[in-house]
């Protein structure tokens, strides 16, 4: 069982999809499975899947959101990422 980062999710930091996580595309978005903690999470939109896939390419979360998410949607996506972080799916 892997250890889950206890760091607080912070938009000004770099986060990426944990290497322990596999994504499987589905019509509604994707399934994300963490092979360490065995959590299965549903990503409920294609845009969220895209954001999660590319998160690691950016210096920090804010930069990723600036590029990939409209300002009206931003709060929703921050909440979704924070939730994925709580499930241990993101790593620093």
């Amino acid at each position: 069982m892997s250890t889950t980062s206890i760091d607080v999710f912070d938009e000004s930091s770099h986060w990426e999809l944990s290497p322990q996580v596999s994504l499987r595309d589905e019509a509604f978005g994707a399934l994300a499975y963490h092979h360490g903690n065995r959590r299965l999470v549903f990503l409920k939109s294609r845009d969220l899947v895209e954001l999660v896939r590319r998160l690691g390419d950016f210096d920090n979360v804010s930069a990723a959101l600036d590029e990939l998410v409209s300002s009206e949607q931003r709060a929703r996506y921050v909440a979704a990422l924070a939730s994925l972080h709580r499930s241990g799916l993101l790593s620093a």
Binding site: M1, S22, R24, D25, A27, L31, Y33, R38, K44, S45
Partner: protein, 371 residues
């Protein structure tokens, strides 16, 4: 996207199953009275080691993240460890269900060395008398020895899996205490009238009162696992943990030991046979099997249309209806409002189908006489 529309999406089927059960063998050294797969004798057409490995490769390619292995008793297959290790090496997690009889010290230590492996040891009573009535003499002691060996081998957290019968449902607190003693997770599943379960279901399925008590007990214990087994009870109010839908052919399916693909682990019957992996592989059956396509069509609520709780229970379990002789448009036989019992009562002569393949041993042998 709100939760309900995700459920609608699931009912139209996924690219690959979330919950794939693979019964490795029909061979079993026990003869439980409620066996879902009527197991006992090995089927000579069982998938060979190389066919089984090919199937695992396909499962990995489809990104099915874990497979639930059962049987029969999966550990009686001589290539059991070879197959498990082949799966895990490709990041296909294995959750396997066992009666524990083959988990001696050495096996427990080998199991403990495998990553991505979950074990559930089945018992059907919190004491030998209750358990052995269903699973056979000596089976409770054997399961406890397996649990002891897993603990000694530092396997870590395993699961204790119990089918809820009229007797075992009265022992919930004892099961909880037993799981706590072992640091194990408790998993409760529903008794289904499938396989040999058809013969005992009338006498053993929990009463409506017991169902209500179980619902309250589970609601207070979200950490108790149920594999979405009791979604018919969600009609009582707040939904239980899980997707609360019949996933048959949509998010769930079963591959049997000879490669036949059924809609779910509880419907081993020709009517729910979608194809065989030996023809064009599993993915072809999953995506194009005629049966699965039809299961992904919108379903009619049938007799449940006027019930305010239809959205909570979706009419219940397809297998429970089928094997008690009800129609798919009838309520679940264990409908919490008694609609299923009334539907059953109106059937003058209930025609109750039996699982098509039956691998029950013709004569049962006592556990202690077997090596």
């Amino acid at each position: 996207m709100p939760e309900s529309s995700l459920r609608d999406r699931f009912e139209r089927g996924l690219a690959a199953p979330i919950c794939l059960t693979w019964e490795l063998t029909y061979a079993c050294n026990l003869a439980c009275t409620h066996c879902l797969s009527s197991s006992g004798r090995r089927d000579p057409r069982e998938l060979t080691t190389s066919e089984a490995k090919k199937l695992i490769d396909e499962i990995a390619a489809m990104q099915i993240f874990y497979v639930n292995i059962g049987g029969g008793e999966p550990m009686v297959r001589r290539d059991f460890f070879e197959l498990v290790e082949h799966a895990v090496a490709q990041r296909v997690g294995v959750k396997f269900s066992t009666n524990g009889t083959r988990i001696d010290r050495a096996a427990a230590e080998r199991l403990a060395r495998i990553d991505y492996l979950d074990i559930q040891v089945s018992i059907d009573g919190a004491d030998a008398a209750t358990n052995d009535r269903i699973r056979g003499r000596g089976s409770y002691a054997a399961a406890r020895r397996a649990m002891d060996n897993l603990r000694l081998a530092n396997f870590g957290q395993f699961k204790i899996s119990v089918v809820m019968t009229r007797d075992s449902v009265e022992q919930l607190d004892d099961f909880e205490a037993l799981a706590r003693d072992y640091g194990a997770e408790l998993r409760l599943t529903r008794l289904r009238p499938s396989g040999r379960g058809a013969d005992v279901w009338n006498d053993l399925h929990p009463t409506l009162d017991q169902g209500r008590a179980l619902y309250r007990w589970l609601l207070a214990r979200p950490n108790v696992l149920t594999g979405d087994s009791f979604f018919h009870l969600s009609a009582l109010g707040n939904p239980l943990e899980g997707l609360n839908l019949c996933g048959a052919g949509r998010v769930v399916c079963l591959i049997d030991p000879v490669g036949d693909v059924y809609a779910c682990p509880f419907v081993i019957h020709d009517e729910f046979l979608a194809g065989n992996v030996r023809e064009n592989g599993f993915a072809a059956v999953w995506s194009d099997g005629e049966l699965f396509r039809s299961l992904r069509e919108p379903t009619s609520p049938g007799a449940c249309a006027s019930c305010g709780s239809y959205d909570a229970c979706r009419g219940g379990c397809m297998a429970a209806k089928f094997f008690t002789g009800l129609e798919m448009t009838d309520p679940d036989p264990e409908c919490v409002f008694g609609h299923g019992e009334r539907a059953l009562a109106t059937k003058q002569v209930a025609i109750r189908p039996h699982s098509t393949p039956d691998h029950s041993r013709r004569v049962s042998v006592s556990l202690t006489s077997r090596s």
